[in-house]
């Protein structure tokens, strides 16, 4: 029940109306979205009916996964370890590069004549897929895991530099000013004022990218850049679904364990 005072105030108060402009812009946005989706149907060959039509093939494919073939498990394990090693080095090299490049890309500590060209370079690295880099490096250094390491590190460098610089741009400038006021040099302002503020985020982003790189390292093996991806590609090409299932399971288990471990480590730092 409303009291008389509340009734009086209700009479005075008015619920603000949604502006016509807001309603119109929502409507236009919705129409645009629907138009884009419709336009993309033909190009993307969206035919949900095929799922039903080809159910026999799918069931056959799926049934292969129900009986995974672990006969060659020592090979899977060995290649999975190589995959992890590719991811470790790919991520490590990317982090080493992303620290200076991330700082250079940060508009709050670097002049724009430095940030802009380096940002564009990082955009370029990020926009090229690991798979493309892998094929380029296979041509340069030959088949094998090293091409994978280089491919992962370049793509990850582009991603981490952007993430690192965004973390630096979000710091609290006051502690940095406190350090500057003691007569410290700019490099000391970074070491003592900026790095301690961003280190939890940097660790978190690096771990996240490591997880992503383990997944990517499993895939780039398909083009000959080493690791379990090569075995997976062989199994898929020979329609050996039981083997494919075993390899996928190994990847899933390892990636899940890593996800769990890295989320635990991330929690320690944030």
């Amino acid at each position: 029940m409303l009291t008389s005072a509340e009734n009086n105030s209700s009479a005075r108060l008015e619920v603000p109306k949604t502006p016509l402009g807001t309603i119109l812009s929502c409507f236009v946005a919705t129409v645009l979205l629907v138009a884009i989706l419709l336009f993309s149907i033909e190009g993307a060959e969206i035919r949900f009916g095929d799922l039903w039509k080809n159910r026999g093939n799918m069931l056959e494919y799926g049934s292969g996964f129900l009986k995974p073939d672990f006969l060659d498990w020592p090979d899977y394990l060995q290649e999975m370890i190589i995959t992890l090693q590719i991811a470790v080095w790919g991520t490590f090299l990317a982090i080493m590069g992303a620290i200076p490049f991330g700082l250079i890309c940060s508009s709050n500590i670097s002049p724009s004549w430095m940030t802009q060209p380096v940002r564009r370079l990082m955009d370029l690295l990020r926009s090229v897929n690991e798979m493309v880099f892998a094929m380029l490096f296979i041509a340069a250094v030959g088949l094998g895991p090293f091409a994978g390491v280089l491919a992962l590190s370049l793509h990850t460098l582009g991603t981490l530099s952007k993430l690192f610089s965004e973390a630096v741009e979000a710091i609290d400038p006051q502690p940095v000013e406190g350090i500057r006021a003691t007569g410290a040099m700019p490099i000391e302002e970074i070491t003592y004022g900026i790095i301690p503020q961003v280190i939890p985020l940097w660790i978190s982003y690096s771990l996240y990218r490591f997880e992503a790189n383990v997944r990517s390292a499993s895939v780039i093996g398909m083009v000959g850049a080493g690791g379990i991806g090569m075995l997976l590609w062989d199994a898929i090409r020979s329609f050996n679904y039981a083997k494919t299932a075993a390899i996928v399971l190994v990847i899933v288990v390892v990636v899940s364990v890593l996800d769990f471990a890295s989320s635990r480590i991330r929690r320690l730092y944030i």
Binding site: Q174, A181, T182, A184, P200
Partner: protein
């Protein structure tokens, strides 16, 4: 009363003077404009070595801007007559901060209202930061401090009553404790001048008193020149023998705190609600 640039000029020939005979800070014709706002208008002031000076004035009167100019954290307007010196060394002139300002900053301890400590670093490391300007670059880069530097930092923390918190992260401490840690950083810096920008503005009364007592002790016992901007008039009158009042970017009072009357304070603060003048009156009458 405020001094003019002409009165200051004769003091500026120091060829034969030792550092103790030099004024700690000289500000000549300082102007500062932020966009359309004239933040400082022809400031001429000297702070003598060993003084404890209270800067008072309303919010936006130019206190913080003045202190930041002394440390070379911001540059004045590009007027040829603008000059700031610390112990006779030029900090900035004509709107240009001098190239070796870091050497001068190393002698100036700056205390900020929001403490400006690195919250994720330990208190000890925050205090050790005070020594960065005086150790080789390779050591500072790799956080390599000698045992004696660490011991001095512990002594500085002990002096402000925080030795037992040395390994704690700064962010876990109260505001008053963080401000005292900031003072310990200036001790580690071996600063000869402390510029404190509203150091007690965000503290409770007990912590505020403790911080002001520590600053007073450093001034009295160590002979450190202290320039402190304050909103709390009662603290300014109690701890600072000399008061400099700013109003709309101009110095409107410069003299002994004993000469400051309630009426003058009323004019400085436009009798606004920032200051409880009647609460201050008994303190002024006590003197």
């Amino acid at each position: 009363m405020p001094v003019s640039a002409e009165e200051i000029q004769p003091l500026l020939s120091y060829s034969n003077k030792s550092i103790d005979q030099l004024p700690a800070v000289e500000i000549i014709s300082l102007w500062k404009t932020f966009g359309d706002l004239q933040a400082l208008k022809e400031i001429n002031v000297l702070f003598q070595s060993g003084e404890m000076v209270g800067l008072i004035g309303t919010s936006g009167s130019g206190k913080s801007t003045l202190l930041r100019h002394i440390s070379g954290l911001i540059a004045s307007d590009a007027r040829s007559e603008c000059q700031i010196k610390v112990w006779g060394q030029v900090v900035q002139s004509g709107g240009q901060i001098c190239s070796d300002v870091r050497k001068i900053r190393a002698e100036i301890g700056f205390i900020f209202q929001q403490f400006n400590l690195v919250e994720r670093m330990s208190l000890l490391k925050n205090v050790l930061v005070g020594r960065l300007a005086k150790i080789p670059g390779y050591r500072s880069l790799f956080h390599l401090f000698t045992r004696s530097e660490k011991m001095e930092a512990m002594q500085a923390l002990d002096r402000v009553g925080l030795a037992s918190h040395a390994s704690q992260r700064a962010g876990t401490l109260s505001g008053g404790q963080q401000q005292r840690a900031a003072i310990a950083r200036t001790l580690q810096q071996q600063a000869k001048i402390i510029l404190a920008d509203e150091p007690i503005a965000s503290l409770d009364p007990a912590s505020a008193r403790l911080v002001m007592e520590t600053l007073g002790e450093l001034n009295q016992q160590d002979g450190i020149t202290v320039v402190v901007s304050l909103h709390q008039i009662s603290f300014a009158i109690r701890f600072c023998p000399r008061i400099v009042a700013l109003k709309s970017g101009e110095i409107v009072f410069d003299g002994s705190s004993e000469d400051l009357s309630v009426e003058q304070l009323g004019w400085i603060y436009d009798s606004d609600s920032e200051v409880d003048f009647e609460a201050i009156r008994p303190k002024l009458e006590e003197r």
